[in-house]
Amino acid sequence: MPAETLDFEEPIAVLMKEIEALSMLPKTDARQSEIDSLKRRIDSIRGDLYRHLTPWQRVQVARHSNRPGLEDFIQRIFPNFVEIHGDRRFADDHAIMTGFAEYRGEPVLLVGHVKGRDTKEKIFRNFGYARPEGYRKALRAMKLAEKFDRPIVVFVDTPAAYPGIESEERGVAEAIAVNLREMMMLETPVIVIVSGEGGSGGALGIAIGDRILMQEFAIYSVIPPEGCAALVWRDSGKKAEAAEALKLTAPDLLGFKIIDEIISEPAGGAHTDHDAAARNVDTALGRALDEVRALDTQTRLNHRYDKFRNMGRLGFEFVEEL
């Protein structure tokens, strides 16, 4: 486990340094028991912290560089992965990965953003900012799954679609728009898991499905808190306030019926225990997939349509006059 701690985890960081110092010294029984007791205290403090995370702290956890992503889940719950590349139009985008694998013995198609972990990888993956080709590759792969009647599992984790000249030139807006329309009609089960950052249109562009699951500390927002703060407060330092106002946490979104279910995370967040995080994802995914697979295609499509059709129903009302 990497020792990288977030700013609000300061009390943990102090104890971790103590443990590090102790383990440098010759090992004795007394020292070992001291280390063990420190570890227990870390666990208990971490549990406390993570039970009361503020929205901004959740944003930090969702962006944690050790947060498990598509590749970590592939290693743990999707054996025999074969990656497929490119949109057959222009390029292979590295911020969105597609390919087929097995899930509980059955073939599935996997689609998801990848941010990369170390610097070299991050640059290769463009920090998870996909260009139009990424969205087009995703749709091409999903059509392949539809043709052969294989379920699709999507992992969402992106700051945004890439805001660059080439993105605009090659129609990133069109690529996302077409995905929204076409994913609504895919005649195969689609389960979406928001696993990290759900960054506005760049996330939504691959996030239409029969079930939208969200990990406990993931976020999903129309705009990054920094952007919101810069716009309305003219001060990007007000990001904590913005994170609060935007209601971007999993419990908020469950309340708005934007997501169907929260997947719980290990006590200190998914980044502290990839195996446990993957087990929870596995359980939720298996159940969701069974439920939607049991429906006939037309019913499933109607349910998918209704789900999105009703989003925002609690946000408007009819009035005679104001």
């Binding site: 945004a160 679609a161 890439y162 805001p163 660059g164 000249i165 993105s167 605009e168 030139e169 129609g171 990133v172 807006a173 069109e174 996302i176 728009a177 077409v178 929204l180 329309r181 076409e182 609504m184 009609m185 759900g198 506005s200 249109g201 939504l204 562009g205 239409i208 927002s221 129309v222 705009i223 952007g227 919101c228 716009l231 309305v232 407060w233 913005a242 106002a245 935007l246 209601k247 971007l248 908020d252 979104l253 708005f256 934007i258 037309q298 499509l301 109607n302 998918r304 349509y305 999105f308 059709r309 989003m311 925002g312 609690l314 946000g315 408007f316 009302e317 009819f318 009035v319 104001l322």
Partner: protein, 300 residues
Amino acid sequence: MAWFKKTRKPIEAQEKPSSRVPEGLWVKCPGCSQAIYNKDLAANMHVCPKCAHHFRVNATERLRLLFDGEWVEHDANLVSTDPLKFTDTKSYSSRLKASRAGTGLKDAVIVGSGTIDGIETVVAAQEYAFIGGSMGVVVGEKITRAVERALERRCPLIIVCCSGGARMMEGALSLMQMAKISGALARLDRARLPYIAVLTDPTTGGVSASFAMLGDLNIAEPKAQIGFAGPRVIEQTIKQKLPEGFQRSEFLLEKGQIDLVVDRREMKSVIARALRFMGATPGHPAATPAPAVAEPAAQA
């Protein structure tokens, strides 16, 4: 004792170059700097007669310019309940109130039905003066209903886009309106009914990444700003200046991203021709071929 005896005159505000023209009678064209008589401008569909600069027009005017005559408004009484109870420097509910007072509308889109060159059509026009034309749940709902109305009547749909994107103050609920409208458009598409998106200045953010780019035809007005990411965000990301004309209609046309750029004064005639190509004829809105696949059950 002061070193300098001369007392300074307080700096006075420079007298404004007084215009002897009554307010609102003349407007200066931002394109060619010429003064235009306001009535001439209105008579010319708010396009500068000298340089063809397209002034922004409001949603009501848009509908008037497209429809043959009378039209009926739909779902005018939907209002936002401020689902997030969003407050920044001002509360969202007070912003809503101010926009309602300023525009006389209840939210940022007007939906109407009438005829275009005799063809029964549903038209939605976004209103920029209402919080930047932004799309929250009310705009999402009204446009989705417009799509469903077109589907029900088997008639064409036109959306005149004019929006900065999703409405931040309604959070992820606004974002989901992109999905909701695009889903409804999928049904319209499969039913082979015509949908034309008219992109006006500006058409950006979540609106561009959903219905604005999903028309059977995407038609832009000249020099409209059309794009997904804001120019400032792009400049900050790539740390260089953007090329001249970036994200303007002509740029998108050149890059193959939109189908045509049409002068406002020609817009109705081009749309009428397009609708006829797509099988809609006067009095027979349902003259489009039956869809090849069974239509999914219509939603309430």
